[in-house]
Amino acid sequence: MEIPRHWRLKKQRYALVGEVCPHCDYKIFPPRDVCPNCGDEAKTLYTFSGKGEVFSYTTIYEAPTGFDSTAPYTVALVKLEEGPIVTAQLTDLGDQPVEIGMPVEMVTRKMRNDGDERGVIVYGYKFRPKLG
């Protein structure tokens, strides 16, 4: 298990912390330090609202190692209110069919296990249909 690699991303995984460019106000997620809009350095932290809508989605039947126990699952491109698109699983769907444009919100969920090596579990963001 790559513990340091997951640990250092805890702000992103648990709270959708990205960046805002101090030069052009562009919102950035995942953080990347150089603003993709204006090219200047951007290191100011910015917490996203976690609200967005489905831009596209699919179902994964043949899952990579660590994801087999939850397959099949739905992965989407979610367009956040603030602009960026993130790749994330959809969860808590019940019988609700997924549609492009569906409003969703971020929740924290179990993402994967360690391929049964040492039992470490990775938690992070998924998106569920927006409540209320």
């Binding site: 699919t58 994964i60 039947y61 043949e62």
Partner: protein
């Protein structure tokens, strides 16, 4: 300017070579390419490979292959750019010869998918995406393509069988390629009944992962052996562009920007228009990538690339023949060997040796090797010449 000639070509059949190791598979292609060139001896080896460290627990392929294949001591390195590794290695060989630093370069692409089975393969392939923000969500390469295909169908109102033309043409052409994994044409109704891989992508929208090796010998025209037998094929242009690694970081995920940039740059360098391109070996790892590549290259407007397949324009006798020896779909997707297979196949076409798959009077062949969803795009233009 110096012309860089593809003097020799070699390839193995693409398939499940359970009994052949990576190094031995590469040797088959290398030996054939050297013999085909009239016995030219390489001074430098560029290996295109995508996943040997993951799939075979083997890195350091440059020296492995130089040593194993009878070239101990020569310059040898691996070039990796995911699915574009073969194209990227070809470019390194091209630059080495073009610059005059190397007289004879050997480029070999090799991949051994069958050293792993099951989830191990998907896990390995997923390392070529953004590991921290894509793969960690359980997204696979097929899933990534499915996200694009769903959005494309939504934006442009494509019917559910709209992409069937891509595998139909690929399989029809693969039937004429003795090195193809699938050598049997398929019927349209088979596409409609195929099992879903990641909706809306079905089994026929996905090129099969398979083992294979392909090799080319590059040299300058003045260094060709006396009595060289083949019609001359040169690399008229070489270009690489990169986009964002992660799909979600793009303003227009359907744009395949790097694919467009590299085709434009290559066409500019070769000094040709799109109309002069006689065939296009695109990177049809997924049907949707074929459609987006056709649009990016300029053969169709946005949202209409799929129509070229539906209307027969990509068939051997069509306006722009594609996947002329089966493409990734029917020849098989041998990972980092793919770009070198494309160079071998385009050379076969331009030499006039493609048999039932021959594109008549072909002079310019466009080949494009993609890493991920065109995160890396390597484009070459090959030209038949006379001295």
């Amino acid at each position: 300017m110096t012309d860089v000639i593809i003097a020799g070509i070699g390839q193995t059949e693409v398939g499940e070579h359970w009994d052949i190791a990576l190094r031995d598979l590469a040797y088959v292609a290398i030996k054939e390419a050297i013999a085909d060139s009239g016995g030219l001896q390489p001074q430098a080896l560029f290996v295109g490979n995508m996943l040997a460290p993951n799939l075979s627990n083997q890195a350091h392929l440059g020296v492995l292959l130089a040593d194993h294949c009878g070239m101990r001591g020569i310059e040898a390195v691996t070039v990796e750019a995911a699915g574009a590794s073969g194209g990227a290695a070809l470019r390194q060989g091209y630059m080495a010869v073009k610059s005059g630093l190397v007289d004879v370069a050997l480029v070999v692409g090799v991949e051994k998918f069958t050293d792993q089975v099951g989830a191990g393969v998907d896990t390995a392939v997923a390392t070529t995406s953004d590991s921290d923000f894509e793969a960690v969500q359980g997204l696979t390469a097929s899933g990534q393509a499915a996200l694009l295909m769903r959005r494309y169908m939504h934006e442009y109102g494509v019917p559910s069988d709209g992409f069937a033309g891509f595998p139909l043409v690929a399989h029809a052409n693969g039937a004429g390629n003795p090195c193809a994994m699938f050598r049997k044409a398929i019927k349209a109704e088979v596409y409609g009944k195929a099992e879903m891989v990641s909706d809306p992508i079905n089994l026929f929208d996905v090129a099969p992962n398979a083992d294979g090796a392909a090799a080319v010998i590059l040299t300058r025209s003045d260094l060709l052996p006396k009595g060289y037998l083949h019609p001359l094929v040169k690399i008229a242009a070489s270009a690489v562009s990169t986009d964002t690694l992660a799909l979600h970081d793009r303003h227009d995920p359907l744009g395949f920007w790097a694919a467009r940039e590299s085709v434009d740059a290559a066409r500019h360098k070769a000094g040709i228009t799109l109309d002069q391109v006689d065939f296009f070996e695109y990177h049809d790892s997924y049907s949707i990538y074929a459609a987006l590549s056709l649009e990016a290259a300029g053969f169709a407007p946005h949202g209409e690339g799929w129509k070229l397949a539906a209307q027969g324009a990509i068939a051997l006798n069509g306006r722009i023949p594609c996947a002329t020896l089966g493409g990734l779909k029917a020849r098989g997707f041998a990972g980092g060997a793919t770009g070198v297979y494309q160079a071998v196949e385009a050379t076969i076409q331009l030499r006039g040796q493609a048999g039932p798959c021959q594109v008549e009077n072909a002079r310019f062949g466009l080949i494009q090797s993609l890493g991920g969803p065109a995160s890396t795009a390597v484009t070459h233009i090959l030209e038949k010449i006379t001295l």
